[in-house]
């Protein structure tokens, strides 16, 4: 493999990984704070993609302008889901949570099937095929923008969690919810906010994916699997872990797809995944038994 090719694959992998990271951060945030494993996470992504699709095709909005509609819309949808479904599962057995979120996932998929049909659709505006050339490297503009947006959102979340009162309250709630309540933190409110934020980030990821991928009601299934791998690999509840895990999976997928065979790329990252879990069962950044919503 030539150096130029290596660099090209690395760049492609990193760009892809940035989007994986963004999808995974929402999942790990919700788990870290609320201890809820959201099996409907992929469907939030799917909704973000469809919303973006209709904004672009029906309203003729620029796909990147659509972000400013999709993120708040998914935030509100997340609040709705939290209040109507998730809230009553908090503190109940894991089985209740699994049934509730798997059920939600099925309902959303079926609803999308009725509303949007099973057709696979995509958007095709000039920007989706634009390329930039940087020396020997060529990068798709949508991939580059998706990566940049993912990094911007991830670092924004970092700063928010680290240095605002609400961010600190979110981390405190993750570490000890009853002690958080004694600080005057409205724990139920923090849960609502967290689920909304996680949903908004996932919807945002969906909208960023729309110029790159096509959407169908079951699109969430492909990505949610990656998101779970990334989150467990990075360490449940670790924002840093989701970021590093996402990049790692993106790079591994790109290289193995090229070097071995595209059909084998999932097998390869699952092998790495298993290997990491053998040596670090808590994931790369989850060394403390996932007790923490960590930003370090």
């Amino acid at each position: 493999m030539t150096l130029a090719l290596f660099a090209q694959l690395l760049v492609a992998g990193v760009l892809l990984g940035g989007v994986y990271a963004l999808i995974s951060i929402g999942l790990t945030l919700i788990f870290g704070v609320m201890r809820v494993v959201n099996f409907a996470h992929g469907e939030l992504l799917m909704l973000g993609m469809y919303l973006s699709y209709y904004l672009v095709t029906a309203v003729h909005m620029n796909p990147y302008l659509a972000l400013v509609v999709v993120a708040p819309a998914l935030y509100l949808f997340g609040l709705l889901v939290e209040v109507t479904i998730i809230r009553s599962t908090i503190g109940r057995s894991d089985v209740v949570q699994v049934f509730a979120t798997v059920g939600l996932s099925i309902v959303l998929q079926a609803g999308a099937l009725m509303a949007f049909s099973a057709n696979v659709v995509g958007i095709n505006v000039p920007i989706t095929n634009a390329l930039v050339q940087l020396g020997p490297l060529s990068m798709g503009v949508p991939q580059l923008l998706a990566f940049a947006a993912a990094m911007l959102v991830a670092s924004g979340l970092f700063v928010f969690l680290r240095s605002t009162d609400i961010g600190r309250a979110i981390r405190a709630t993750a570490q000890d919810r009853s002690a958080a309540a004694l600080m005057g933190i409205n724990v139920a409110g923090i849960y609502r906010l967290t689920f909304g934020l996680g949903s908004a980030m996932t919807g945002l990821a969906g909208a960023l994916l729309m110029p790159i991928y096509s959407v169908s009601p079951t699109v969430g299934e492909q990505f949610v699997l990656i998101a779970f791998v990334v989150v467990v690999l990075g360490g449940l509840g670790s924002v840093t872990g989701a970021l590093v895990g996402g990049l790692l999976i993106g790079i591994v997928e790109t290289f193995s797809g090229f070097v071995i065979d595209p059909q084998w790329k999932q097998a390869v990252y699952f092998l790495i995944f298993l290997g990491v879990l053998v040596f670090r069962p808590a994931g790369l950044f989850g060394a403390r038994g996932s007790e923490e919503l960590s930003t370090s």
Binding site: D176, S178, A181, L182, M183, G184, I185, R288, E292
Partner: protein, 234 residues
């Protein structure tokens, strides 16, 4: 300031408090003592709203608060330092203190509160950049007190602040409690260190099996022979 009447509370099937009544007068230091499993911590949890009162009333400055959310009670100035400190272990000491002043009322005076806490607890100031979980038990208990004071309490409820501490820190804790009280904060202290706390307080209540079995001025309770033998094992 705090008026508890006929309080009953528990966990699931398990009834812990049956009929607990007591008063905390403004500006006073009131102590609740009792053996293990007498219901001391459950009483604190019902006051903070961590668990719900099953019967009875809790009034704070005249308002019934037994159905109010925990965070609203904190906003009123009813602040609790829980048993076992319950610091946020992965956050720095300073972040823990800042969280203490999360309530809107306290946030407005955050800067002054932080200066006061650092002046009162110089050890805490030295450790401000360290993760709270990396401190010794004694240091953690100082941070917990500092975090409680950051909330600008009108009534500070302290649940066994000396539990598991070395004698030096126990002594220091009682000094700090006296200092807090001198500054005009009403204190409700729940303690197992009977001798020290009873000789310090204005009024004491003895809790046994979820009932108040004795009350009076601290020295009177301390000198009651039957009580000392039966409940306090002294």
């Amino acid at each position: 300031m705090l008026e508890v009447r006929g309080l009953a509370a528990g966990y699931g099937e398990n009834e812990v408090l049956f009929d607990v009544s007591f008063d905390v007068a403004p500006g006073s230091l009131t102590v609740i003592v009792g053996a293990n499993a007498a219901g001391k911590t459950t009483t604190c949890r019902a006051i903070s709203g961590e668990i719900e009162a099953r019967a009875g009333t809790i009034r704070f400055e005249g308002d019934p608060i037994q159905h109010e959310r925990s965070d609203r009670r904190v906003e009123r100035g009813l602040v609790q330092i829980p048993e076992g400190r319950r610091l946020f272990p992965f956050m720095t000491v300073e972040e823990n203190l800042l969280l203490g002043s999360f309530a809107r009322r306290a946030r407005a005076e955050r800067r002054e509160a932080l200066e006061e806490v650092f002046a009162l607890l110089p050890r805490v100031a030295e450790r401000r950049r360290q993760a709270a979980g990396s401190l010794s038990g004694g240091e953690q208990s100082m941070v917990a007190i500092g975090r409680g004071l950051m909330a600008r309490p009108r009534l500070l409820v302290m649940d066994e602040p000396t539990l598991g501490l070395a004698p030096l820190f126990v002594e220091r804790t009682f000094e700090i409690i006296e200092e807090i009280r001198k500054r005009g904060v009403t204190v409700l202290l729940v303690e197992q260190n009977v001798k020290r706390s009873l000789s310090l307080c204005d009024r004491a209540y003895v809790l046994e099996h979820g009932h108040v079995v004795m009350q009076g001025a601290g020295r009177d309770v301390l000198s009651d022979e039957g009580l000392r033998r039966a409940y306090l094992g002294m």
